[in-house]
């Protein structure tokens, strides 16, 4: 999906609101481009032969790319006037090429300043990432 042109207002977002799901095809291109764009040159993120030598069946996504995708997932919903205040993630099973990760999320907390979105990214092996994002929306108390 593309980013909306306006952001939801803080007052209009409620605990329990679900975010639109984001389906991310885990291509080799995504894994390698994400690793290099984040200056992470560990061979397990771009070289299948060396990844196998290290005991991994294939290259896999690095945590900086996962972190970026979680941020994108929330701002795809929250729009250009949202400000991320915190992103907290824990990794589970790896993202290997050929898989698909589906990011889903729900608003679980709301203060005067931020809303908290709980995020899960699941692939065919289980949860690749779980975490939470604090985002400041228009109309929130700064």
């Amino acid at each position: 999906m593309t980013v909306p042109t306006t952001s939801p207002r803080h007052a209009d977002v409620q605990v329990g609101d679900a975010l639109p799901e984001l389906e991310v095809p885990i291509t080799r291109t995504l894994i390698v481009a994400g690793a290099i764009a984040s200056r992470d040159y560990q061979d397990v993120h771009h070289d299948p032969d060396l990844a196998r030598e290290h005991g991994s069946p294939d290259i896999f996504m690095n945590i900086l790319t996962t972190n970026g995708l979680v941020g994108r997932f929330v701002t795809d919903w929250a729009g250009p006037d949202a400000v991320l205040r915190a992103v907290s993630i824990r990794l589970g099973v790896p993202n290997y090429p050929g898989d698909t990760m589906v990011l889903s999320g729900r608003v679980t907390e709301k203060t005067d300043a931020v809303v908290t979105v709980e995020v899960t990214g699941a692939n065919s092996k289980g949860n690749h990432v779980t975490g939470s994002v604090d985002v400041e929306l228009p109309g929130a108390v700064r």
Binding site: T2, V3, V24, L30, A33, G34, I36, A37, S38, R39, D40, Y41, Q42, D43, V44, H45, A51, H54, G55, S56, P57, F60, N62, I63, L64, T65, N67, G68, L69, V70, G71, R72, T75, D76, P80, D81, A82, V83, L84, R85, A86, V87, S88, I89, R90, L91, V93, P94, P138
Partner: protein, 192 residues
Amino acid sequence: MSADAAGDAGTGAFHDRLRAFEGKTAGPAEVAPDEVNQAMIRHMCEALGDENPVYVDPEAAARSVHGEVVAPPTMLQVWTMRGLRPRPPDDGGNARDDLYAMLDDAGFTGVVATDCRQTYHREVHLGDRLRVVTTVESVSPEKHTALGIGHFVTTRMSYLDAADEPVGDMLFRVLKFRPGTGRVAPSGTGSA
């Protein structure tokens, strides 16, 4: 593998030696090799498929709450990554590197990132020159995990700007494990 390091792995004495790093600042602040710049932001947004215009379009950013182009906040760690040909720290000493070396010497050569918690104090703009101060927070006792036998190492990073004002904080946790000792085929040994 040094006999000294390998000799007491798995014992309380080895964990005590690892824990001696707790609370130590890794070394002097590591300065980002480049200012925050549009090219690196564009490359990351293209990789992620992130079409938020405030990261790349000055006019859209000016119309937004951000006022000017900002970096994706999740790029916080990117700016100070050491890159493909890292240089050793100028003064030689780095507690995190020394801790990892002690674990490597004891056979815990695998590394996989497990947790990343970032808090952003302000937005990052084009031209910012970030630096990071890293502190070793904790080293777990030896754990049996699906990936293998290992120790969780938790570090805290404080990101500062050129005026030494705080930009963001990060808690980063990795598992340093002994390859081939897991209950399942290892899913990877790379860092981050």
